[in-house]
Subunit: 341 residues, 4 copies
């Protein structure tokens, strides 16, 4: 950590900072400039945080130098991790050597619709089935999901098609129930900073799919993963799904750079959701190609047998020719980037 003193800081104020740092067992290196003094801190970062140095008189700014996350950082864990999802003997890998397609309906609406979507997904090469039973909707008047009944349907269809199942949990009170039915628990963008939920899924003994909040920096996203990891669960897959910007042509702006940025800082796998990022069917295939080429570890896409009658996010669901085009893109591009689909 580096403490920047204001130009008017007195010697006494400088001395108070160094003595406070030394009181925690750290060391403080003072560099006196022409205009101002800077103090470099060496020692246990966590103990420095508690010092509240930014509130001390004469202090202008405190710059953090190290990453604030530890367990998910690549610094002490240089090899990238692989997360395994599903029953023993039939597990699907998500990691640096593979490219994993996850697909399914945005919302579970009925057994028939879910089955058709799962078969479409499998035919396109999906290795995991996604589907929402609990939906987090901006309007209380929108379809909120089938709830427990949706979980039953999803688990049944997963078994029938042989695809492990990933589904979102939106409330800490539902974690146990969802963990009974699903192989992987998704935390959605709106809940990325719901820290009680993060801790509950960290305790649930299932791999976690953690979407980036639509206004979260990469660092905040990795801190959210740290909340899960702190509970002893390092089976976390990150999912970039677009951030909020001023551009209205797309629902969100896919931050494609986040994939290599995360991979440089964290050992966790990272996948991309092009459906929610763009919110437009015509963008799903081009953005999927970009995600494969940039080096993502997988994709999460919406499919629906009848998008026109979907209860949720129909305009972005793939069907028919678009889905075949996606399958072809995965097949042709993954070898170029050195991965097995």
């Amino acid at each position: 950590m580096v403490v920047v003193m204001s130009p008017e800081a007195t010697e006494e104020q400088i001395a108070r900072v160094t003595s406070r740092v030394e009181g925690t067992g750290g060391r403080a290196f003072v560099s006196r400039g022409v205009v101002r003094t800077i103090i470099g801190l060496v020692g246990d970062i966590e103990s420095f945080h508690g010092l509240n140095l930014r509130s001390m008189p004469g202090v202008e700014a405190v710059h953090r130098i190290s990453d604030p996350y530890k367990l998910v950082s690549r610094q002490h864990h240089p090899d990238r991790s692989t997360v395994h999802v599903g029953e023993p003997g039939a597990q699907v890998a998500i990691g640096p050597d593979t490219f994993t397609l996850i697909a399914g309906p945005c919302a579970v609406e009925s057994a028939q619709q879910t089955l058709e979507a799962a078969e479409m997904a499998r035919a396109a090469g999906a290795r995991l089935l996604r589907g929402g039973a609990f939906k987090s909707r901006t309007s209380p008047y929108s379809f909120q999901g089938l709830g427990p009944q949706g979980l039953e349907i999803l688990a049944d269809i997963g078994r029938a098609t042989g695809l492990p199942v990933v589904t979102e949990v939106v409330d800490a009170r539902d974690v146990a129930l969802v963990a009974e039915h699903a192989h992987m628990l998704q935390v959605g963008a709106r809940n990325m900073a719901n820290f009680g939920l993060l801790q509950a899924v960290g305790d649930a003994g299932r791999p976690v799919l953690l979407k980036r909040g639509m206004n979260s920096t990469v660092e905040e996203w990795l801190m959210a993963a740290e909340y899960v990891a702190q509970r002893g669960n390092l089976d976390i897959v990150l999912c970039e799904r677009g951030i909020r910007t001023f551009e209205p042509a797309t629902r969100n702006t896919l931050d494609i750079s986040a994939v290599p940025v995360v991979q440089a800082s964290s050992h966790l796998p990272v996948i991309v959701d092009p459906s929610h990022a763009g919110g437009r069917r015509d963008l799903v295939v081009p953005l999927s190609r970009a995600a494969i080429a940039v080096g993502a570890d997988g994709l999460l896409v919406d499919v629906h047998p009848d998008p026109e009658n979907a209860l949720c996010d129909g305009p972005q669901a793939l069907v028919g020719a678009d889905l075949r085009e996606l399958a072809s893109a995965v097949r042709r591009l993954t070898p170029v980037v050195g991965r097995r689909a």
Copy 2:
């Protein structure tokens, strides 16, 4: 609602849209332009939403015309509301005729610190005491609040100083406990889209202080209030606390325009939190003056008897001369905008 057909839309596609609309009892007015056709819908908006018109072939865009919120809208409730907080006989009003200062420590750290902060707050003219027992922190390594013990302290100090108490609830599982100790339940910015929590506080029978999410539009914020209102609780006070932008000089960017924008659209009271918006002590008083002058119904500010040793957000807490300056600003500016402080 207005449906815009693409230039290539066929007559059959236009007919499918109109017949789907008419199937719900609505009416569709077709205007054929040189380049494209637009269709104006008249009838029950909610039934149109379920139609998923944006997914139909030939449809380019669907423009919503009406506000999506109802209970909190000013359209059917033109008079601005007043929310009353506290025990019968000692209630504090927040609404169009008053200006209500809410102050206290960001986090309850001890009985002594909370008492000193409460006395500072009361001396500055605060009518409600704020203080956090459950904290929502970006890092799992930061101070997370004293929890239930913090609630006890806060309730005790509230009684001792005669100030009704407002405190944040961060988890739906804690709502009943918090409602036992507090007169008003705060939903923080990170939880504005935690819909399960919104419904739980809506059920709790206490007034709600709903902060704006740092990346939420005003419309999404009012939809969050609608989630609370739908549970039969209209005692909601909105709190603008800054949005996330590209500007690094302040922690967030206070969206001062949100105050008159909300007041034009909703009957709910709206207050401003200048402490969290700016994140800098030197900005709290100027931003408070701006909030009073723009027409806000109150302020929420951090105070701390010893900011240098605060466990949370010390750099923005008011103390001493700054707090006296705030009190003076409230006293001198509120009459100019026609309010009683």
Copy 3:
């Protein structure tokens, strides 16, 4: 400046950084941490910039500590400046003791419209007349202003009403012509980073009104002012006019905090344009009240005798009762913040 080395940096890489710094006559203080080394630089900042330290092997990040602007900084010029506009003997002051209303039509459309607007402005207490002869429009199909003829009209009406005139210059080739007709040259938000134009207005010998770019940080805005100041012209008034964010309810988001942030960093006066920030007539008066209360040195507002038929930005122009309400707000609020209107 502080150089942060990566955890893998070698001793040789550290030595290369320190020797490069010392080669320019600076000094380098090395603090070796458990994980990484940081190097504090002391000496002439400008010479360090040329060193391109961020490109050296082993360097992870370079943190600038000092402000990059000099002439407009408050550091070496602690007293806030006053800028005087107009002919000798009839100058209008913009600075810390006064509150200066600048008003007029967005665009000069005709002598009659400009005269009526100027009289409205003067009646409301305006001390300077604004009006656009050259307009910077997003669409080439929009009204682009009357050009030289508009300048003549503006100058005539300014003389007739006794109000000094401020008008925008959008092209470096027009600076001399505009400077002949106007007392103050405005650089618009879209041209804030048009550095050739900034230098040209810096050379023109007239006070400058410099609007903030809609995506510019406060620091970049002050750097733009530094371009003008470097030409020997320190008669610069800054104008906050809203930044671009995700919020669609207003055309831009007025960054009211920018006023005290600028005043803390720079000695230059800073005013607010509530008309372009909100883009809505109903917001102009509340935002003006906020601007006065926060401590701005003045306001820039659009007025039009017949907004319904305005060729530019009619929806935000004040007229009639709104303008009288603005005049009343200026009159009642300025004494509370210790200023003469």
Copy 4:
């Protein structure tokens, strides 16, 4: 265009809107809803713009339905265009069938550095040489380019290496001089809304490379292209180079979706600049792969023989192994997306 009346609009106000529309030869279709009335306009859009309908009493909002650009729109020009750059007989194509690499130094510093960079670029497969003689820098204290001397160097090296040359013009007064030395004129992000400059390059008789402004929507970017096109010059190549968001990990956020969004709306070619978008050397190759895969028509990258001593943007310039990796990515990915590199 669709006019939405407010719920309180009177019959007379509705009639005023329709009669104003009909006065320009247009037709107005009135749809009366339960709560409000909407009016669909059919006729000449441009004439409607002049009507200033949003300022009329009773009007709540005006929704534009058609694209505001014409010449660059794909609507009346469905085939995607190819732009040819260079001397007759040695022209380089940028368009839907090819993939064109443009590379060179951010700034021309000397003949030797430019020659080395050009040879590196050519060896990596570049077909055009980029290099800056006039630089647009945030700080007046940064290197501003060699100016006319830089143009001479660039033209010489272009001839020596057989690569047509593209360079930025930052001031309308320099257009003629730059057009004498360069085959293609670049308009930078900071000048995208410098409309005088756009018109000047539109008149210059050279192809134009138009970068997206860092806070510009795709629509505004296409409107800037329309300014060039209106002068009779349709040889415009668009360049996505990142937008400004809240994410600090990258200098800007590459909006990869902008490529397919532009291609759906406009016939103009669109390329990507991964160097300025990310501002980090380690991101240039992954982002280049993403750009090829998403369907971009080319790339613009910084190369430098000695990035550590570059006068401009050294931290992002490619050299050595990185450049060979880029060349390999172009070679292997372009056939998969059906293009010739």
